[in-house]
Symmetry: C2
Amino acid sequence: MSFNVKHALFTQFARIGKVLGNAHRLALIEYLAQGERSVEALAQVAGLSVANTSQHLQQLRQAGLVETRREGQRIHYRLSGDDVVTLLDAMRRVGNRHLAEIDQLIDTYLTTKDSMEPVAAQELMKRLKRGEVTVLDVRPEEEYAAGHLPGAVNIPLNSLEKQLAALPADREVIAYCRGPYCVLSYDAVAELRRRGYRARRLEEGYPEWRSAGLPVEETRH
Amino acid sequence: MSFNVKHALFTQFARIGKVLGNAHRLALIEYLAQGERSVEALAQVAGLSVANTSQHLQQLRQAGLVETRREGQRIHYRLSGDDVVTLLDAMRRVGNRHLAEIDQLIDTYLTTKDSMEPVAAQELMKRLKRGEVTVLDVRPEEEYAAGHLPGAVNIPLNSLEKQLAALPADREVIAYCRGPYCVLSYDAVAELRRRGYRARRLEEGYPEWRSAGLPVEETRH
DNA sequence: CAATTATTCAATTGATTTATTGAATACAAT
DNA sequence: ATTGTATTCAATAAATCAATTGAATAATTG
């Protein structure tokens, strides 16, 4: 008996693994980590057909990773809890540490690791308290509104050039976006440095910050 | 470009998910979390053919979750780091919280949750310091020797009946084994209670304790 | 060097997964 | 009621995965 129960349990856990075993679904989870999204919105941002996206989302739902809410004719998907972000983060850590391919991709394409020296969450928290830095959220407005780091200024990447005035030139800027592999913050830092700012990235993104239990702010409309 | 890099990264991470998407491989990881094992030993305990086991292990290796070491004609596999245990733990948490099927399996087969009231690692640590409890490791001798909780007494489950004398009858016994779903400790607690002991399970097993950074002891031969 | 043991490799078969397509729901607006 | 929109369902073809089998390596022993 005990063997079969154990196998049955592992089979259930394997459902979660299986569902994490597809790049598109991981991308969908990353978008959902920013907040609720409709199927169409997810399809667009993930570059998939709506039907295909719907099917991936249903698999995520059956594995207990996402939940749904109907609003009129739209169905909004959301992560079923912060523990899902934690799970993805654990996967990311293992990948970073043990898969050479990942190291190489980051090294080659996301500008060089060293020159960017990302700031760790704990460190940023300290410096925030001392008021030493300007925190810059380069995600789209809606995502910022749904939740952001305390005191963060929101300038979406594509309007960064126009709104540079909003950033004090004498303090270091720490930029963040959707997650550790979101390119928005990489681009923002590159742009800011070209303009003469001292700028660095936050090592992770908003979802990781939040799921680590660090303080966040929401913009009530 | 940024889309492709992102997709390439997610494809790499998906390799990890994919490899976690099979019950047999999860079982192999659980055994490996106890320590190094040869292919044959793993095959036997997992109930798989050697060739099949070898193939699963190679998939785990390609995904960076395990490493190998040759010793004579044997090849020993081991987890590539404690972060792998952490990853599995994150998966377990999500499954417990969001998959009704898992709840049901545990409820139905692993005796009732409530009457067993497992002890959390943090709580045990406190009570250990005060010397209030006897910690009982019911895993096989070799696994105990490779590492165990501080001050734990080792009585493998099948000799528990004979060696009951080694346990003080007036203190609560906290039993643990390989992991949260390992049945050894469930059986041990049931047996001890039949004998009139106050006994409970540790919520998780040795690997989780260790990867949480709590103190461990090794038996040098 | 021949025989033995532990592991891996290669080929095969059946099962599962992915993306596509077009049809089916389910709600909303006219 | 009719039309339109968002999502899901069902059927399919191509790709991938799992387990089995028997042969191939690689180290060990006599």
